[in-house]
Assembly symmetry: C2
């Protein structure tokens, strides 16, 4: 049985896969922190499945980009279970997750996640999730220089992009909001398409959040050193 975890955004989710099939998933975007919801949700899922933690053979986790604290909680949880059970962890980034539900359309996919502070995390994919433009953090207006012809725009940052592009010559194809939601079960689906970044039980220390930019605290610290 495989466990998937995503706490990279304000929302969080977990999912269980058994014999290639989704058997359980839970998603929450409530005013409760990941530290309060994540482990109880995993515990509940395992109990409902009628098995114990010893049934877990692999953990899939989203490494970001996204919320700094959320990512730390998700990765710590994944590492903790993997360490205790001596099982491997596989990871994907949140832009791959946001892109996946649009792969069915067979077009280029602009995957966008709101990075706050007037920036977006963004990557451009082919329908097989191979990269056209690497994940990066940019100002939305910078997208005017990208080739977005015949491209589906998706992810939590899609409305921001839509607003920026509305006065441009680019004909927009924004996915409905259903397609923007990041869910842990997407990690299983992506693993059928592309190999994950893999960490065996000995390499867990190498599993780090994928921040794409320094946190506000890190920027402040750096700036204060430069004074």
């Amino acid at each position: 049985m495989k466990l998937a975890i995503d706490s990279s955004q304000s929302s969080g989710s977990i999912a269980l896969h058994d014999k290639g099939k989704l058997v359980y998933s839970a998603y929450f975007d409530l005013r409760v922190t990941h530290s309060e919801t994540l482990m109880p949700a995993i515990d509940n899922a395992i109990k409902l499945s009628g098995v114990g933690p010893e049934a877990l053979s692999e953990i899939l986790v989203c490494v970001g980009p996204g919320s700094f604290t959320g990512l730390r909680i998700g990765l710590a949880t994944a590492k903790g279970i993997a360490f205790a059970r001596k099982i491997p962890v596989s990871s994907y980034n949140s832009l791959q997750m946001a892109a996946y539900p649009c792969t069915i359309a067979g077009k280029k996919i602009l995957s966008v996640i709101d990075a706050k502070m007037k920036e977006i995390y963004v990557a451009l994919y082919r329908p097989d999730l191979s990269l056209i433009e690497n994940p990066q953090v940019i100002a939305p207006i910078d997208l005017l220089d990208w080739d977005l012809t015949d491209t589906i725009i998706t992810g939590s940052g899609a409305p921001i992009v839509s607003e920026v592009l509305k006065d441009s010559a680019i004909k927009q194809n924004v996915a409905p909001s259903y397609f923007h939601t990041l869910k842990a079960e997407l990690l299983f689906a992506i693993s059928d398409l592309i190999p994950p970044t893999h960490y065996d039980a000995e390499a867990l220390a190498d599993l780090e959040p994928y921040y794409l930019r320094a946190s506000t605290a890190q920027i402040k610290k750096k700036n204060s050193h430069n004074l």
Copy 2:
């Protein structure tokens, strides 16, 4: 806050929407019956949201086709809460739900659900979920007479259809299994696209399962009468 319920298949799921946004969802495909999982899941969802049942303003429910017992449990649960709270219930069928994740592709969608007993529930949709072929129960081989050019095949019955079509001249485009999963939150997404069948608190008695065919028990009873 709106509650969505699907127990039309062996899997079951619930979801909560607040101010147009998914805030909670749970999905289970375990060896536990809907009668054991559905109400506790709804209770847990409402509690986690920090509100009470009085926050619910509408219920969306899947009416089938699917599992006879599952449908009865789902509809009874929806009616019970709606009756107690005097709120309306809206419904969609399971073939619309299975089709929705493929609407992003802009092609015709063949939505197929395994009806057991060597039959399938099937309907053919345009990308806006308008009907080309009405929901019906057929033998998979009957699809050889349908125009399935440039059509995405999806739903739990997609592998059955794929097997039947493999020796035909039809070029197949079967959605990956991620897209087949029926989830209650799809009910919210569909309601942005097409109006549901609506039952106000006084019309709840009209809300019936959408079976498409008689149950095995009903067929046996009818046959025994004809002896």
